[in-house]
């Protein structure tokens, strides 16, 4: 071995060579993602062609859309005057001209602030539930929101919602007094029976009495004036808010050990779920008067809300039952071994976990419910699709289809898509809490 340097061994590393152009940047991305195999290349070209066909037809129609026209004839004149004659153009004038009708239906225009304010109250009320980081004082708004929204939308004397709120007050006071002085069971019975008696016999006289002493109120708006997206939102949100607690109760009843209660819950849920909503809506329209005492009739919108609520609650019950079944048995046994009674264990141990599991299903049910509010058009309510046919029936806009469908579809898409995203956000957040 000598010290002569071995000249053929490199002493320092070579600098890195740039990868071949086909393996970097956009070229690589395109090769990997779009043309990795003949089949893939074919699919890519097919999809690009499909996109081209749709865009080349719909794009100009959308972009050349006429936004300021008072009638279809006027709109077509503008298109004929300005267009190149080759492309058609959308008449979005119908949306700007009939915007208020599409959103509020036939609600009196000077009172538009009321539904808007009701929506704000609702949003403020729901915000502490949706985002736990908000101050807990907002729950006061949450408690007041249902009656406040009801009063803002329908109007009338303020004493009517106040007397209903008083009924709840009676219930709370009765529960507290009986619980301290008599027994827990008496307290529960009292908290249910006394408010019912109050609403049946005292609420009406109290409301009218107060109204005759201090007439405080806002203009009454009949349900027939409700329409457009406002109607969808009113039906959808009230059904969502009421169906969740009902659904929880039904799910608990279906999983209960008490045979009669379980059977009733099963029959209720299966019958409701087995029959399409549209049949239930026709039942509300045609048959409800048969089932009620002779001579009594009440508002169609209210009947629809009740029907949609019952319908949704059966679906919610099944979703929550899935959540209850998915909980490990140890949770139930652990709650029992702590000596908690049924309601305590449900409230403190089981339901918080089961509801967490069922959130995606619950939100999906709500999305379906909101989409299903369009079905009320068949029993003569003016939801957005009903308003659209009403607009189409006027001489100004006779024969307009696509623009209205597009607008209504996009509005529904935005609301349903954002609900879906919120459910994904919740799912992710709750999953993190576990790991």
């Amino acid at each position: 071995m000598s010290d002569t340097p071995v000249t053929y061994v490199r002493k320092e590393m070579l600098g890195q060579k740039a990868p071949p152009t086909s393996e970097v940047g956009p070229v690589r991305w395109v090769r990997e993602n779009l043309f990795s195999s003949p089949m893939n290349a074919f699919l890519t070209i097919l999809s690009l062609y499909a996109i081209y066909v749709v865009v080349s037809h719909v794009g100009p129609w959308l972009l050349n859309g006429i936004w300021d026209a008072e009638s279809l004839t006027e709109c077509r004149e503008i298109i004929a005057a300005t267009g190149d004659g080759h492309h058609s153009a959308a008449c979005f004038g119908v949306i700007s001209a009939r915007w208020h009708q599409l959103v509020f239906g036939y609600y009196p225009s000077e009172l538009y602030w009321r539904p808007i304010l009701a929506l704000v109250v609702f949003l403020v009320g729901i915000s502490p539930v949706m985002f736990p980081s908000l101050p807990r004082k907002l729950y006061i708004v949450t408690l007041a929101a249902p009656l406040l929204c009801f009063w803002l939308l329908w109007g009338g004397s303020i004493w009517f919602p106040v007397s209903i709120a008083l009924g709840f007050g009676v219930g709370v006071v009765a529960h507290k007094l009986l619980d301290e002085n008599v027994s827990a069971l008496a307290a529960i019975i009292g908290a249910i029976v006394l408010p019912l008696l109050f609403w049946l016999y005292l609420a009406g006289p109290i409301a009218s009495g107060l109204d005759s002493v201090i007439p405080l109120g806002i203009e009454f708006v009949p349900s027939r004036s409700f329409g457009g997206f406002m109607l969808s939102i009113v039906i959808g949100l009230s059904a969502i808010v009421i169906s969740l607690p009902l659904g929880i109760l039904l799910a608990l009843a279906r999983r209960s050990d008490l045979f009669i209660i379980k059977t009733c819950a099963v029959v209720f849920i299966e019958v409701i779920r087995g029959i399409p909503l549209i049949v239930w809506l026709f039942t509300a329209q045609l048959l409800l008067n048969y089932f009620l005492p002779p001579g009594s009739s009440f508002d169609l919108t209210l009947r629809v809300i009740i029907m949609v609520t019952l319908f949704a609650s059966a679906y919610i019950a099944e979703v929550i039952r899935g959540g209850l079944a998915a909980l490990p048995k140890g949770q139930y046994e652990g709650a029992d071994s702590l000596g908690l009674n049924y309601w305590q264990s449900m409230q403190l141990i089981i339901l918080p976990q089961a509801l967490k599991i069922s959130i995606p299903g619950i939100v999906n049910t709500f999305i379906g419910l909101f989409k299903d509010t369009t079905l009320v058009v068949f029993i003569g309510l003016f939801d957005p699709l009903g308003i659209a046919s009403a607009i189409r029936a006027t001489t100004e806009w006779n024969g307009i289809y696509w623009e209205l469908f597009l607008f209504i579809g996009i509005m529904f898409f935005i609301s349903c898509f954002s609900m879906g995203r919120y459910s994904l956000y919740l799912e992710k957040k709750l999953q993190r809490e576990h790991r």
């Binding site: 990997e32 993602n33 779009l34 990795s36 893939n40 699919l43 890519t44 999809s47 690009l48 499909a50 996109i51 069971l185 050990d257 008490l258 045979f259 009669i260 209660i261 009733c264 299966e270 019958v271 779920r273 087995g274 029959i275 399409p276 909503l277 549209i278 049949v279 026709f282 039942t283 045609l286 048959l287 008067n289 048969y290 089932f291 009620l292 005492p293 002779p294 999305i367 989409k371 299903d372 369009t374 079905l375 058009v377 068949f378 699709l385 289809y401 696509w402 469908f405 209504i408 579809g409 529904f412 898409f413 349903c416 898509f417 879906g420």
Partner: protein, 425 residues
């Protein structure tokens, strides 16, 4: 042992009904039963009073009286002199028809889209995501109305097909006509029909053909027998494989069983393709798919297909990669891997929600009202109720039909679930 306390007296005190958990459940149930029976009695009592006040009775006799209205799409023989019951039957069959067609095409669309959404191809997977989100988040009713409007507003009129300067023409080798009054497709007629129907020449001078239910029953029956025979061939192959380790070649037997018997029956019946043609103001012959059926069918399949795509995607993602790798390590070829390892596991995840989507599709077919398709809602729950004034009976029957259908399907699903459930500890 004198320190033992006396056992509690076996006597029964009234307060035990409330405070003793053994008896409390009975108390609660009795109260619930009384309340429910009371509520039901109240409802029935009100109904009876209301019916009396209106001078109506409760009977289903109207089902046998003459309907007096026409139905534009009938799968069984019907005319307006037949009974309301027959009209309801026609409606039920129409509901089942669109539900069945919708389920098949929604499944095909859903499987394709679900697989393509998992594709590595960026454009394709995005496109499929747009489709799925677009259809899932917009009410079905809007899609039905939209597709109905496309069919009736932007398709050519039959007269555009006429004459030398026709602005449009039939597609697929002059066999399918797409018009604003619906789509005409070729139908199959039989020259030696066994149905007893009178054979009519589709065009003057052509061979007379007829096509009745009996012919189709024969064809489908033969096909079903072929399928059963194919199953026996496969079972025999399995048995031989178990015994000897060699799997006999069966593909030619299977192909033969699939095609030959049906082919012979079709030939014996003298099957002929009858294409539609323009006559007068409209197309004639061939099978007429009405706009109402097309709009409902396409909208239902695209809408449900989007939901099925998500189910299929979830099902495929649920089978872990180790399964296919393990199958490959055992030496299974790709198609056997798919059939024996991947699919059985994916299907266990896919099938229950898939069936509930089929159920939803069937119930959603009641939206036929939007385009005037004559389903059970339109006949029994629509015109019959309006003509006879029997809301209560009509709605009850319609509800019973939908309920029976749902319970039947979900019963089948429960049976399937039990038979494929993993045997757990």
């Amino acid at each position: 042992m004198s320190t033992l306390t006396d056992p509690p007296k076996p006597g029964f005190r009234l307060s035990q009904l409330i405070y003793d958990t053994r008896y409390r459940s009975i108390t609660i149930q009795v109260i619930a039963l009384v309340l429910i029976v009371g509520a039901l009695w109240w409802l029935v009592n009100n109904t009876v009073n209301n019916l009396n006040a209106l001078g109506k009775d409760f009977n289903f006799g109207f089902l046998s009286s003459a309907a007096g209205y026409d139905i534009n799409q009938t799968l069984i023989e019907y005319n307006n002199q037949m009974s309301h019951g027959r009209a309801a039957m026609v409606g039920i069959l129409n509901t089942l028809l669109v539900a069945f067609m919708g389920c098949v095409s929604a499944l095909v669309i859903g499987v394709f889209v679900g697989v393509l959404r998992l594709s590595k191809n960026w454009v394709v997977s995005r496109l499929m995501a747009v489709y799925v989100e677009g259809f899932r988040n917009v009410p079905l009713l809007i899609w039905i109305l939209l597709i109905g409007a496309v069919m009736s507003e932007s398709m050519p009129q039959p007269r555009d097909f006429r004459g030398e300067d026709a602005t449009t023409s039939m597609i697929l080798g002059d066999s399918v006509a797409v018009t604003n009054r619906g789509i005409w497709i070729p139908r199959i007629g039989f020259t030696n029909s066994i149905s007893g129907e009178e054979a009519v020449a589709p065009i003057e001078g052509a061979t007379p053909v007829a096509s009745g239910g009996a012919d189709w029953l024969l064809v489908l029956g033969t096909f079903a027998l072929s399928l059963i025979a194919m199953r026996f061939v496969r079972m025999r192959a399995d048995k031989i494989q178990h015994a000897t380790g060699e799997r006999p070649k069966t593909w030619y037997q299977l192909m033969g069983l699939f095609f030959v018997p049906v082919g012979i029956v079709l030939f014996a019946l003298g099957a002929q393709i009858v294409t539609p043609y323009l006559k007068g103001f409209n197309f004639t012959e061939g099978t007429h798919l009405r706009n109402s059926l097309i709009a409902l069918w396409v909208a239902l399949s695209l809408y449900t297909g989007a939901f099925i795509a998500e189910i299929v995607r979830a099902g495929i993602l649920a089978v872990s990669k180790g399964q296919s790798e393990a199958a490959a390590a055992l030496g299974l070829r790709p198609n056997r891997t798919m059939n024996l390892v991947i699919l059985p596991q994916a299907l266990r995840v896919i099938i229950p929600p898939l069936i509930s989507q089929f159920l939803n599709l069937t119930k959603n077919s009641s939206l036929a009202i939007a385009v005037g398709y004559m389903d059970v809602r339109a006949t029994l729950g629509g015109i019959t109720i309006n003509q006879t004034g029997r809301e209560l009976e009509g709605m009850l029957l319609m509800g019973a039909f939908y309920l029976a259908l749902s319970l039947l399907i979900s019963g089948g699903m429960n049976y399937y679930n039990r038979s494929t459930q993993l045997a757990e500890r």
